[in-house]
Amino acid sequence: MNARTQYRTEAIVLRLLDYGESDLIVTFCTAEFGKLRGIAKGARRSRKRFANALEPFSRLQILFSRRRPESLALIESCDVLSHFPGIRANLEKTFTASYLIDLTDQFTPDDKNNEGLFQLLNDFLRLLEGGPATEGLLRFFEIRLLKLSGYDPVLDHCLVCKTPLGNEKAYHFNSGDGGLICTACRPDSPDALPVSLGTIRMLLMGREMEIDRLGRLFLSEQSAEESRRLLAHFIRHLLGRELKSVHVLNEIRRLGI
């Protein structure tokens, strides 16, 4: 029998699943171990042991052990680094954080170094904790996450004629091809979404800019609408389905909130 090896790492809680009578199976996002699944024994029976730490989007220091990389980790203890109380006290921020978590869960590889995505999630939770839940925050998270996970859409030239961005005022975005097509190349593609030059420039800026300056980028109503449709469509195309958190958010909006 292999001996268990113990590890310590920083982790953000992505998902919780009740297991058996009193255990929890927790999915974490970590820098070193990618997406990590572990069991917290007795976490539902005794609140003391894990001290209310195992909650969605809490940032923790965890101590875990496992025999092999592919086996379920045993969570031995965890200390809370941040509960993000500012997010938890605000409905809009909680929904935004849930979406960031859901998306990260979908795009994080299992057990693979994942410094970039972990940092991205951590940075955006920090922005959300300290500032308002804006439309821009969601879009810039999406575009950065796509880049980090290797699904970066082509936004700086036309996929067909390769002409660099800037010659025209309006483009189409085709999710199937993962990029822009200029009006001259395919004006009437049924799947392509129209998108203005201004929106594309905004997304490119949001993708490259320093995280702490993102709060100063404001999306016009047109850019917000166009980029929301473009990225939602592209992400749905990549995942092949709608995210649960998006579905729930739509239900909330129908209540008039």
């Binding site: 909680t94 929904f95 729930v248």
Partner: protein
């Protein structure tokens, strides 16, 4: 499980589907049933069927009920203008155990959890809104659990009901009676200080 006659095997298999019951415990329970009188065994079987046949959700508050409405909603001594919202019938039973509450309840049967796809339509929120619209309601107490899901649900309910002019309150959070501050987690302690009161 080998060595048991087929009907016993079947019973063990059924019992081991209960939460927290492993095969060994299931075998012990099966042996107990085997030794019990036929009368005792029949009472057990009938009580199980009875629960399935007779218990449903109260049409007013969605508590478990025998018949159309539950005992609490049927009790004319309860104050109908105060509604306490809970996640599960278990919470209702716990609050009733305190003996301190004279109002009525509303059971949501869950809490908001976007990551699990649980939204307002999976909970009894529409029914709650209809209920407060058609009745005189002085106060709604939100007694969902102090977890992220419970707090999110509370925030949503406050938003929905406050704009309808209803007085909303949230249950207090603090150190348990007989507890010790040094063993209390940071989040609870922060809430304790936030919700301190004048003495």
């Amino acid at each position: 499980m080998s060595g048991y006659a087929l009907p016993i095997k079947r019973l063990i298999k059924e019992l081991s589907r209960f939460p927290g019951i492993g095969e060994r415990t299931a075998a012990r329970l099966a042996n107990h049933i085997l030794r019990a009188s036929e009368e005792d065994a029949r009472r057990l079987a009938e009580s199980i069927l009875d629960v399935k046949r007779k218990i449903r959700f109260c049409s007013v508050c969605f508590n478990l009920a025998e018949g159309e409405i539950c005992e609490i909603c049927a009790d004319t001594a309860r104050n109908r203008s105060v509604i306490c919202i809970v996640e599960e019938p278990d919470s209702l039973i716990a609050l009733e155990g305190s003996g301190e509450y004279q109002g009525v309840y509303h059971v949501l049967h869950g809490a908001l959890s976007p990551l699990d796809g649980i939204g307002p339509e999976q909970l009894r929120i529409r029914e709650l809104l209809d209920r407060v619209a058609g009745n005189v309601v002085e106060e709604v107490i939100v007694a969902t659990n102090p977890s992220v899901a419970g707090e999110t649900t509370a925030l949503l309910l406050v938003k929905l009901l406050k704009e309808r002019g209803i007085k909303m309150t949230r249950i207090a959070l603090g150190v348990p009676v007989g507890g010790d501050l040094k063993y209390t987690d940071r989040m609870t302690l922060a809430k304790c200080l936030e919700f301190r009161r004048g003495v």
